[in-house]
Amino acid sequence: MASQTIATTQAARRRRGRLRRRNALVGWSFILPNFVGFAVLTLVPVIALFYLAFTSWNAFGTAPWVGLDNFTRLIGDTSFHTSLTNTVYYTVFHIPLTLAASLGLALLLNRKLRGVAFFRTAAFFPYITSIVAIAVVWNMLFSPEFGPINQLLSFLGVQDPPGWTTSADWSMPAVIIVATWREMGYYMLLFLAGLQTIPPELYEAARVDGANAWQRFRNVTIPSLRPTTFLVMVLLTIGSFKIFDLILVMTNGGPGQSTLVLSQFIYQKGFVENQFGYASASSIVLFAICLAITILQFVVNKRRER
């Protein structure tokens, strides 16, 4: 009797063990084709970067170990502080604005509308238009002397319209506006895909319960979109912290250091000043910030799911 119980539990444990091994095997078999490429081509260089952050590598020859020197130097580097503050400034405004704009667009264009294909394509156009053209046109629109934006503002009675990209105080808002405008179509696409996964029965049921449009949005759309929102939030956070191209062509970090961001600092230290070890250390700080926020989002998301 007793031995029989032991035998069954042992068998059960064995079976569970086998099942777990089998599950792991199946899981890995799905991941492997992508993982092999990912590990060799991306992960290895990224891990190499972690090593290089503790060296004074200059891209050529050996990489002498310098311990924590690069990190202590970062703590005292005022340019690094400026770029970090600017990046946070950009991120704090860019994320909510883009989230609102892209979700709004997705909701608006997720309906049967005459010409919806055209409007969707138009919303996506900023993302595919050459970034140089975008920078040129927006810079011109913002021009304090000739730009239509300030002409409109003066027409509306604004006494001293902002200098936008030519002013240290207004260059960052200008960049945020353009970045939001450029990326909303991109995230709209992700939201559009997310909206398709909401079963219509849920809306039907809510309607039967007498929910108005706002309540349906709050109680059906928002919760059902959670995995998509998580995706968008994580991508947006990382994307905002890594903002580079647009600033490079729009303001190149100026005037002064008013739009200098982390990625640009890294590029400058690496490719212009050839301090690749130092650049690696700064990118590890950037990485750590992004990862911390992502893990936080991950945990919050997990908790909400339950």
Binding site: A39, L43, V44, P45, V46, I47, A48, F50, Y51, L52, T55, W57, N58, A59, F60, G61, T62, A63, G76, D77, T78, S79, A135, V136, N139, M140, F142, S143, P144, E145, F146, G147, G163, W164, T165, T166, S167, A168, N252, G253, G254, P255, G256, Q257, S258, L260, Q268, F271, V272, E273, N274
Partner: protein, 436 residues
């Protein structure tokens, strides 16, 4: 998972170490043979728009049929440095490569990416300018083939229309500023401005550093920039030149501003001669008569045609990749001697490019080109100048330059006053670079 993570870290660390250990490597070990035909690979950029590299390659091959010179095409601008640094780091760079800017010499030399070419430098003609700039620790690391210098271009038709006398070689910067304002007033109804100063940092800082006595980029003291900035700011405040804001927000190009007669003067490098000739030929630029004058001077101790005006400009040079096959080394050095000498100079001046070698023959070829001005001052300005490098060659140069570039945009956009912008730059250079 733990174990596999450890292995992954181990593997990556090993790769990192091996990456770090072996810069250089297996570049071009395919050709060999001691005396037979040799193929040299050289770097060049944007070959469609920059024909000089192919022309040099062909010119050399013609005189030395045994040696084939192959140009590897890179991008222009900062992208060139990105690409060539990657190639050198991976050991895939060509046998000879161009140092686009003098400020990269330090990087490449201290990184062990240049062969000592002092022996080539020793044999060169004394008229090759800029060779000294490539010395570190008493050895020469690259050989210049091209030397650009900053000059003052002016539109004779617009000067006539405004009733202003042409520059005569006696100008200081104050004379230039006065002329710009008079021209602007006189050209009001044509909508042209007195001058066009492009948004570059070098346009203000290059002249200030080259011309001001005792100015030193590495001293941490940048008060020498002050009069130059004050003048530039005053010029745009007076409307004698487009504001920095307009230049940057409208992405203005100097080729269009001067070429389509929107400005009567243009301080610019000698590279623009070739472009302007070509654009007047193909109709991109208006048909007007122009001339070149020496760059305006710090004070009248260097003005006048009996003096040598001081200006700035970077040479462009070829260096030898240390990974080069030994069998090609002699050919590579011979190529360097040739591009810096008479052979290279002839090829370049026919293209409207200013060679490192300056002599009467070069000036002659240049002014024989279709569309060149024929007046004496233009010839004087072209052939006579003391051209200083834009920056000293040193470890700190790149960092100082980028801090001064921030100061440039802050001051020119009006975000900082001249004095504040300069003192902020001094503080940053002291704290971030440790100078001054």
């Amino acid at each position: 998972m733990k174990r596999s993570q450890m292995t992954a870290v181990g593997v990556a660390a090993a790769v990192a170490l091996s990456l770090a250990a072996c810069g250089g490597g297996d570049a071009g070990s395919d050709d060999s043979g001691s005396a037979g035909p040799v193929t040299l690979k050289i770097s060049g950029w944007a070959l469609n728009a920059t024909p000089e590299f192919q022309a040099l390659a062909d010119g050399y091959h013609e005189e030395n049929p045994d040696v084939t010179v192959e140009v590897v095409e890179y991008r222009d601008g900062n992208d060139y440095d990105t690409q060539i640094i990657s190639d050198l780091a991976a050991g895939t760079a060509p046998d000879l490569y161009v140092l686009k800017n003098l400020n990269k010499l330090w990087t490449f030399q201290t990184g062990g990416q240049l062969l000592d070419v002092s022996d080539v430098a020793g044999e060169l003609d004394g008229d090759v300018s800029g060779v000294d700039s490539y010395e570190i620790d008493g050895k020469t690391w690259a050989i210049p083939y091209r030397q650009d210098s900053w000059l003052l271009y002016y539109n004779k038709d617009l000067f006539d229309a405004a009733g202003v006398d042409y520059p005569d070689g006696s100008w200081t910067w104050d004379d230039y500023a006065d002329a710009a304002e008079t021209l602007t007033a006189g050209l009001g109804d044509q909508g042209a401005k007195g001058t066009y100063q492009h948004s570059w940092q070098s346009l203000v800082q290059g002249f200030a550093l080259a011309q001001t006595p005792d100015a030193d980029l590495l001293s941490g003291d940048y008060s020498y920039l002050e009069p130059y900035y004050q003048r530039s700011v005053d010029l745009q405040d007076a409307g004698a030149q487009q504001t920095y804001g307009t230049v940057t927000t409208s992405s203005l190009t100097y080729q269009a501003e001067f070429g389509t007669q929107k400005a009567a003067m243009l301080p610019m490098g000698s590279w623009y001669i070739g472009t302007l000739l070509a654009q007047q030929e193909n109709g991109e630029a208006d048909d007007f008569s122009w001339g070149i004058a020496p760059a305006p001077q710090f004070d009248d101790s260097t003005t006048g045609t009996d003096n040598t005006p001081v200006t700035f400009g970077d040479p462009t040079a070829f260096g030898i990749n240390p990974a080069i096959d030994d069998a090609k080394l002699d050919a590579a050095k011979d190529f360097l001697t040739w591009v810096a000498g008479e052979g290279g100079a002839t090829v370049l001046s026919e293209l409207g490019v200013t060679p490192a070698l300056t002599n009467d023959a070069v000036t002659e070829t240049f002014f024989g080109l279709d569309g060149m001005p024929a007046d004496d001052l233009s010839k004087f300005a072209f052939s006579t100048h003391d051209t200083r490098p834009e920056n000293p060659v040193a470890a700190e140069t790149a960092s100082v330059q980028s801090i001064l570039n921030d100061a440039h945009s802050a001051i020119m956009s009006g975000s900082s006053s001249v004095a504040d912008g300069i003192s902020e730059a001094e503080d940053r250079v002291a704290s971030e670079v440790g100078l001054g």
